[in-house]
Symmetry: C2
Subunit: 250 residues, 2 copies
Amino acid sequence: MAKNSLTLESVRHSLIRQEDSIIFSLIERAHFPINSPTYSPSHVSNSFSGPLLRFVVKETEALLAKAGRYANPEEHPFFPEDLPPSVVPPHNFAKFLHPPAASININKDIWDTYINKLLQLFVAPGDDGNYASTAASDLVCLQALSRRIHYGKLVAEVKFRESPQEYEPAIRAKDRDTLMKLLTFEKVEEAVMNRVAKKAMMFGQEVTLNKDGNHEKYKVDPSVVSRFYGDWIMPLTKHVEVEYLLRRLD
Amino acid sequence: MAKNSLTLESVRHSLIRQEDSIIFSLIERAHFPINSPTYSPSHVSNSFSGPLLRFVVKETEALLAKAGRYANPEEHPFFPEDLPPSVVPPHNFAKFLHPPAASININKDIWDTYINKLLQLFVAPGDDGNYASTAASDLVCLQALSRRIHYGKLVAEVKFRESPQEYEPAIRAKDRDTLMKLLTFEKVEEAVMNRVAKKAMMFGQEVTLNKDGNHEKYKVDPSVVSRFYGDWIMPLTKHVEVEYLLRRLD
């Protein structure tokens, strides 16, 4: 599907698909205990300063940047400063978004939310020494969350194209509250929260051959996944949508 | 659980848990089309020679090695040559395996099997330009497969400790065929193949709120996952088990 034929339907389909990725990544991260030295600036080395997670994410992003990852406008680095340029032949990604979209990157908020609020809600206490693998696993979570939340740019563009007259007055007035109201559909959000809980049950159960899984214990608590969506993922996505719309007439 | 208290039960539990990781990683990879330039030596850059996948895996392993990943004897790099040393404080991983185990690394076989045999069986044709993200996704698959297959070392050690007298004659005679027979339980393998197919259905369905998913279309064909296990993953695991046992009395 060419990106210029994006519709609200196709954008929603991608958001639903991305729920799977987010839940898989959380389940995989929950396989390790919290492993707090991964996040501690005191567990450092002479070779790099700051927490191990920062080192792993920054260095991985640098090599993926060389490999061309951030040429896709749907990908957003956590450390955009000093990223090396791509060294592979450029791919012609469809230009669907209004150009000022490129300046929107709320990964700092996503990082802080993930480390300081989400992690302790779905990961068990403990330390098994696998800090590098834990950091690699966190990176997959962070990338999936970042991709979903910044997908708000595409959501906003599709909604704007469907009825520009509905958004233009609030955009011109820089009226964030009205834009937020226009972008909020409580019924839809409720359905998302229910669906991700159901997915956390399906994907996080112990599948056995004899019965339909162990319905008492899930690898990540479905109500926690629901809460992530309700309290953070959807609000941050709408924040991106509002920021995008505010620049839409520039 | 301390690694010195590993039992056949706990090892089997880990293998079952790793099935989830492998299936999640395949489903995530299947989100991209084949994206063949990722594997092509001709889609190169002046900054590195060889396919993009090789660059991404090699560079990621180098940074994870610095972060201490390969201090865990359960992790095996695909490019062990010239890996930089860890720069973080060493963690005291339990020493459960017989020391010669460290010399067993069949990642070259796993790499070749994955690229040349498995990929085209579960990934759609096409090219969406996301080669860096595709390579990152392949790396997660490769790591999950490598971890599972090399877990054969732990399986073999547990089995050996349970009944050394059963294995010693074949080990001393370097009799691979007998060892392979001793390690093969057709009923167990059949159960694994059925369970992974069921998991591929559970994890790869489209979960909706109204019904129990779309049972006609899965993100990765469950029979293909079953075949991966029967034709490659279990045989390669047993190959590791045999190699391990052959060194067990050194």
